[in-house]
């Protein structure tokens, strides 16, 4: 019965995407959406969320990047969570971050130096859901494939541990997002245990 419902839900989801190109599979205020067995639905609409910053060659994914063509990592957050952060310097329940990984290239069109984004490689998604996760934050990975629209819930893992120890505000690496870092300093919400300077 559960399988039938999930299949039906998937079908409705696909139909709604066909009918509404460009619209989000996870509407702004719906928060993270899970399947009955705890998988996070891929947040397709994140490109209309708020961009906080991007990195180059500093992916959280050990398989991305490299000397030849480092990966860009674009970070987006749900708009309502962004507005809440501007007012409070911290993140509300149901906040979602998407870290989008793009391979890079240097030579194309009129570009003669530097790098730009070329091929989509996958997503890492960070969710704050206090009622679902005893440790508040959870981490999910998605491949580039449109078919792989779900990921298993990984529980408390290496992502969680690193974010818990090193992220400047709660579990978010605000130290790498200059606009938000400035605001967190003003609000006094940076974790006292975190070193913002180079650790070497």
């Amino acid at each position: 019965m559960r399988r039938i419902l999930l299949a039906l839900f998937g079908g409705l989801l696909a139909a709604s995407l066909v009918l509404q190109p460009g619209l989000s599979r996870t509407p702004e205020n719906a928060g993270p959406q899970f399947t009955a067995d705890g998988k996070l639905l891929r947040p397709e609409g994140y490109r209309r969320w708020v961009f906080v910053s991007s990195g180059f060659g500093m992916s959280y994914n050990a398989n991305a990047g490299g000397n030849g063509a480092p990966a860009f990592t674009n970070v987006f957050v749900t708009p309502s969570a962004y507005d809440y952060f501007l007012a409070n310097g911290k993140w509300p329940d149901k906040t979602m971050f998407v870290l989008e990984v793009y391979g890079s290239t240097s030579r194309g069109s009129i570009n003669q130096h530097g790098s730009y984004q070329e091929n989509f490689q996958g997503l890492d998604v960070e969710v704050k859901d206090e009622s679902r996760f005893p440790d508040k934050w959870a981490y999910f990975g998605f491949s580039a494939s449109q078919e792989a629209s779900q990921a298993e819930s990984p529980g408390k893992n290496d992502c969680w541990n690193c974010h818990d120890k090193n992220a400047a505000v709660e579990h978010s690496f605000v130290q790498f997002y200059p606009e938000l870092l400035k605001l967190a300093k003003e609000k006094g919400t940076i974790k006292p245990t975190v070193h913002l300077e180079d650790k070497k």
Copy 2:
């Protein structure tokens, strides 16, 4: 009299920003806003627009970037223009692009390689306004300073000529924005005179 009105307008503008922190000086559907003498008002709310992509070390500004600490360039577009592009593969009147320049750093916090964004350096703004500009598109530069909230209208200039000749769709460098490039190919809106491949 004009100066008095402008000063009054500036005062009201400043007051509204104080009263509404985080809100845009140029609301979503207002389009580009000009002073009586043709200067573009700085679009403060662009960080809630739609991010299209970022580059690293490929700034349009010859003074930004360099081997030591190349600049990131984050490109944002007005949300209604983005939605129009998804449907049509081209840009509506009143489209605005912001190219935001950030200096980079490699060493800080737990980062050991790659680069992230650190210090805001300025904005380049591209506007499509068919009733105001005979050549449809116009280009404006803004320094990093919050005081320099206006820029003189430059008319048809080097920016215009380069975008007119080399940009893939109208005056936008969609060849550097992979999500939009894919869509423009599907819609058949890439200028036939533009070479998307490396020109070397």
